[in-house]
Symmetry: D2
Subunit: 342 residues, 4 copies
Amino acid sequence: MLVIMSTDSTEKQIQRAKDRISEMGYSSHTVSWHDHYAIGVTGNKGKEDRIYLEGLPGVLKVVTLSKPYKLASREVQPENSVYRIGSATFGDGNVVMIAGPCAVESEEQTLRITEQVAQRGAQMLRGGAYKPRTSPYAFQGLGEPGLEILATASEKNGLPVVSEVVDPGTAGLVAQYTDMLQIGTRNMQNFILLKEVGRTGKPVLLKRGMSATLEETLMSAEYLMSNGAREVVICERGVRTFASHARNTLDISIIPALKKISHLPIIVDPSHSSGHRYSVIPHSLAGIGAGADGLIVDVHDRPDEALCDGPQALSPEQFSELMDVSGKVCAALGKTIGTEAT
Amino acid sequence: MLVIMSTDSTEKQIQRAKDRISEMGYSSHTVSWHDHYAIGVTGNKGKEDRIYLEGLPGVLKVVTLSKPYKLASREVQPENSVYRIGSATFGDGNVVMIAGPCAVESEEQTLRITEQVAQRGAQMLRGGAYKPRTSPYAFQGLGEPGLEILATASEKNGLPVVSEVVDPGTAGLVAQYTDMLQIGTRNMQNFILLKEVGRTGKPVLLKRGMSATLEETLMSAEYLMSNGAREVVICERGVRTFASHARNTLDISIIPALKKISHLPIIVDPSHSSGHRYSVIPHSLAGIGAGADGLIVDVHDRPDEALCDGPQALSPEQFSELMDVSGKVCAALGKTIGTEAT
Amino acid sequence: MLVIMSTDSTEKQIQRAKDRISEMGYSSHTVSWHDHYAIGVTGNKGKEDRIYLEGLPGVLKVVTLSKPYKLASREVQPENSVYRIGSATFGDGNVVMIAGPCAVESEEQTLRITEQVAQRGAQMLRGGAYKPRTSPYAFQGLGEPGLEILATASEKNGLPVVSEVVDPGTAGLVAQYTDMLQIGTRNMQNFILLKEVGRTGKPVLLKRGMSATLEETLMSAEYLMSNGAREVVICERGVRTFASHARNTLDISIIPALKKISHLPIIVDPSHSSGHRYSVIPHSLAGIGAGADGLIVDVHDRPDEALCDGPQALSPEQFSELMDVSGKVCAALGKTIGTEAT
Amino acid sequence: MLVIMSTDSTEKQIQRAKDRISEMGYSSHTVSWHDHYAIGVTGNKGKEDRIYLEGLPGVLKVVTLSKPYKLASREVQPENSVYRIGSATFGDGNVVMIAGPCAVESEEQTLRITEQVAQRGAQMLRGGAYKPRTSPYAFQGLGEPGLEILATASEKNGLPVVSEVVDPGTAGLVAQYTDMLQIGTRNMQNFILLKEVGRTGKPVLLKRGMSATLEETLMSAEYLMSNGAREVVICERGVRTFASHARNTLDISIIPALKKISHLPIIVDPSHSSGHRYSVIPHSLAGIGAGADGLIVDVHDRPDEALCDGPQALSPEQFSELMDVSGKVCAALGKTIGTEAT
């Protein structure tokens, strides 16, 4: 941390700042150039120290020099993380395709859709047994029976499965039935849940919060990792802005920005960003173009009957089209959908 | 719900829309005026139906006619809710002052601050025993010993106390020690937590999420109320925008907007919106001017040593100044700070 | 417009609403279904009428049924607009590449860069002679001598040229020297400028405002078109949000959304959205993936010396790389960079 | 400017940064503390230099130490600016009330409303003769005849008048008829207009842009001041966010933040922030509570017939109520509405 004094600060103010730093238990070192004077601080803990020191008289600005996240940073691990989860590989430069129904509604529906997405080349199954819903009156998921269905569908089709955890009390349960645990957007800063999910040691898909900064997203990854998760994948699913022409504003700029400072893989959820079937493929290709390590899409073979997010679900035919065009774009970029060339 | 067709929609498209509504199990009724044609729908369940029908060919727009929240709406209860929680009364037209440390750090600190805010006229104590922190490496609160300290401070000074719940598993525990449970900003859509906190039957202070709409905020209140909470107070604490001159952008416009459609009281947290001591009083008076039913402020007598959010905490002297000027503004508006005239 | 009454509205309130509509000079027609009652209105003029009627007692909601833009809408012109401007064709399904320096600094610099981008396959030259700058103390462009330089560079290399107009008084002048006039982000709702630029009858590149909605963007296109412009191209260059990891948040979702309702071409400016050279190519490919009709990029062969936006300018070598990879992605999508296959 | 190197930067990288600074024509001075190394730079010009240097290898962060605005800053003028414009005084600690119709529609309407607001205690008249409208098909104002009407109404009632300029070509004309020139929200960064308006030397009311930062707002004030305006008043009128319960999100936090760094007065426009009559008074009192130097409100005695923004205009009776309650709140804060005590 560097405490930069105003050019018109008094000696007394400088002394007071040094005294306070010392009282806070940190060591300080003063430097000066031209008409500027600054105090280097070591041993400090973070944001609050910064804001506090910024409030002292005569202080112009306080600059933090170390990043608040460690395990997720490229400083700790310069090379990209690569995770193999069954037939899906995240972070090796190719694009993982995760597909399935938004919610598990029945065994029949889940088996039917899983088979369809598997045949068309998906590498991982998605499906929700516990659904966080804005309304207390909406379908909240099948619970454990839904997990059993997912496990069956996963096994039958040879696809690993990712499913959302909403309750710290059921993290272990979901971990028994699935290969990867998902933290939903509304729970990105549910720190109790992050800790419990981290403790399972399972791979985690962490969805960015609706208005989370890049740093906050990495801090949540840090919660997972510092509690035991070794494989964390970030998911961009659109953020909240003034714009209303899409359900959320897909922020593709986070992909290169994250890759610059973190070794974690990042995928895109074009279904939740677009909110409408007609724009899922454009959002998908934008994600691949920006460098995403994968996609996670809603597929439903009877979208009119879907109990959750039907309007944004692709039909199996549309999913085929997505696989086809994504495969071509990947090939143009020297990549494949999935690690084995299609 | 009203499904309005494009003026150039075909008879076939109209028929398809009607068929789909019927297949969804809803009854429909067609109306027309000028060159417009529309289908009234009853029995529908919500947003997904709307988005789904909007995707059908020939449909111009789908308009929802009923609100998704019920218990929180003025339709269900036209008059303002008024709650008495010990010496604090919410919603009677006056302004409740809630004050205390951001985090409970020790018994001595908590007793000292509680005494100071009580003497200066606060009607309720605030203090966190469980702190949701962005960084896994930051102070996370004292836990149950912190609750014991709060209960002692509360009893000694005759102030009811509000404290945050972060874990569904400890909702009951926090309820034993305190008079009102707080749901934090980052947990506003942690639906599992909302359910558990609702089930305690205790009064709840629900903080608006960082980018929550008015409707989403009321839907979270609905989660609490439909699970057993009868007394829910909303708290505006600033939202996330592009602006960086304050920690958050205090959205005072939600106060009259909420009062128009809901009977729930709403208070303002000027400490978290401003993030800096120098602007806490301006934010407070803005809240009162906009019609807030109360304020919740951080107070610390040694803000330099605070383990949490020190830079925004008022000193006891500044709290006195806030009480003084708030009291005058309230009087100008025919209100008081607290229900008994000061 | 449709005025929907609350289910608990009184007959008197319904009558008052009808009377007001009649006094406003509009004709009305009442319809009802289930327990709902609504008034269809024709002849009304827009937003203010809507907000006004919404304020009447007993009114639940007012729904507008016609779009405020006409000339830009697919209702007026269902097929995509296609414009040929010299060697550049907008809207034919391929991707136009516009490249050049942010600002014209000297004849030598402009000729040098133009030659380089022309050789590498750009179809259009960009360059600013008038620069809108946030600071009154920053370089504001060369003015008319800059236009002369652009005209020379354009002619020598056979590339049409687009340049920004910032002053209604110089719209005619810029039109003499260039092939397409640009409206900058900060002037998207400078209606006087839109009118003057429209009156030149020249093709226009209209950059979306920093927080402009899709509808507002099309309304600005409407200003241009209703004043004489026949060829308007929209440009997405990132919007302002809470996120700070990129200069602006590139909103690729506007591309499919605009194409659904408008026949106008839309291109992407990856230089201004990313703000940093390292992410220009990812933003470019995201734009192409989402369906953009073109790209406009800053290129500078000595970015360290650029008088304007140097940090985001590609070097000629990086521009070659962009052409190469964009060409491959276009080919994967059955498109070309420029109308003739490269 | 201070260029801070990464702790793992190489000597070669440090040398390269120094060389570049020197080539840019700036002098540099190196400092170090603990394991940190930094280069102080003087003579640099601004944002682009910063972003450019930040892109060099081995650079961790570049910190700017001087503010880009000068004339508007407290560094140049520590004490508050106070301007007397006829019966209105801005910046003396009291609250100026500016009222009148959104648009001048006719002489009769303007005289009628002016008389009413004057009698009820307004100190300044507002009214638009040139209206910037989102739609090219909406009423655009009466032009010069509207200015004549405003001048007549102003003279008859002894109120100075503020009116908007939308065209650099008519800045001089508007200056002849009025006492203060207004720059509208959509033109806050129309730099040509700012220059022309600044050159008139008239007092200016500068409305904050829809998504303008505090710094950008002050930079636009700087354009005005560096071109000749000596009296600039900032106006907060709500910013664009995700929230839709008000027309714009009134950002009261900019008031204390601006006052901390600038000597310019700042007022609030509660009519445009709320967009609905029912919330104009709450927004007004929030502004006063936050420390605003004045209010500017739409008043119309026949709001149903208003050609512009009728739904948000107060009736004369509501304006009386606003004067009454604002006067009481001001008194509670030791202020008055207008400089003479009411």
